[in-house]
Assembly symmetry: C2
Homo-oligomer: 216 residues x 2
């Protein structure tokens, strides 16, 4: 058994962030799939491990479960510092975290399966209304990030400098997730460029949903 | 002019988290209010500072603006390490961050003013439907956190040990925000106890919405 087991779902944006982080840091790990479409993350077995019923989670022999993708990524960063996913400088770390949280707090959670289902079932949102909802929040976020990044000399090949950081993990995972509802990236040349630079790296490519064993 | 200016709104949950952190660390600061009810955070003047158009943000003379409440709190923690808002141990830090993110990523953003307005205007959600939405996501989160915390010996007077951490800032801010739609805390004795312990501290009490100069 590997020292680290990643519990995940191929199509989950938060799982994708962690898969990229593990790949970038070159951390050998096992992988267990929980099919969100079959609500396996709400099974008794999974909830015993992670009461929130969300993927991803990290299991380690005889140690507490780690949950929440960003908490896992901070833990990976503190446990396996190289290559770094956060800059050393305190102000720069704040910039990268703010980019990550603009996506991981203010955007991706609004678009989760549980939210889209509630919009449909409780509020009668049809496919068009769901599409509008999805695109609106992504566009709100990406417009702001585009402005923040394209005018800032700290932006490089990636959102901060020329190596990928926690911010890029979140950007890449959101762009991949956009495929569900088709968000036009034309207004976001900086985000598009960063995404292309991410996808040129094997760590990102290998982490894509389609390249997971549980992909259907 | 103070070295640190907090741009905030008295009723914002994310602003409350940062006000508590500043108070706990005893950091002198100025405070500027932007009235979210008048959409002042979307004014040209504010957007020039923070293109995301969200509060809080921190302004410092000649240095970049800091945005995103959790990025600000991590920055405060790295800049003013005492008293610590994160444990020293890497596993324990991950636990605290996971508690914080369960609220700050997966819950609070679903309940923001912009979301509630969109539910009402685009999807015709009346007050009852909005109440159901609000309570559902808070209850989902609090049920899981209650299970995670009440069975874990790491939980103390606060969510992790006997001094407040980043997790408690998020718990307290969410409980305060619950007043908007009335969430029953009876099923959550651990969360209720932690909230009471938070509110017994002047740093939390002073940070409450009603105690801000911009409160109406």
């Amino acid at each position: 058994m590997a020292d680290i087991i990643l519990h995940q779902f191929y199509g989950s944006s938060a799982s994708l962030r962690v898969r990229i982080a593990l790949n970038l840091k070159g951390i050998a790990h096992g992988q267990v799939a929980w099919n969100l479409k079959k609500k396996e993350q709400k099974s008794e077995e999974y909830l015993k491990m992670n009461p929130q019923g969300f993927v991803p989670a990290i299991e380690r022999e005889g140690k507490p479960i780690l949950s929440q993708s960003l908490a896992i990524i901070e833990w990976l960063e503190e446990t396996y510092p190289e290559p770094a996913l956060l800059p050393k400088d305190i102000d720069e770390r704040a910039r990268v975290r703010a980019i990550a949280y603009a996506i991981a707090c203010d955007t991706t959670p609004l678009l989760a399966g549980r939210i889209m289902r509630t919009l449909e079932v409780d509020l009668g949102a049809d496919h068009d209304a769901q599409t509008k909802w999805f695109r609106m929040w992504v566009n709100d976020c990406f417009s702001a990030l585009e402005t923040q990044m394209n005018s800032n000399p700290a932006t490089g090949k990636f959102c901060h400098g020329d190596t990928p950081t926690m911010g890029d993990l979140c950007i890449a995972a959101q762009v991949v997730s956009n495929e569900r509802f088709g968000v036009d990236l034309a207004p976001y040349p900086t985000i598009s460029r960063i995404f292309d630079n991410c996808m040129a790296l094997q760590a990102f490519e290998k982490a894509l949903p389609k390249n997971q064993p549980d992909a259907v």
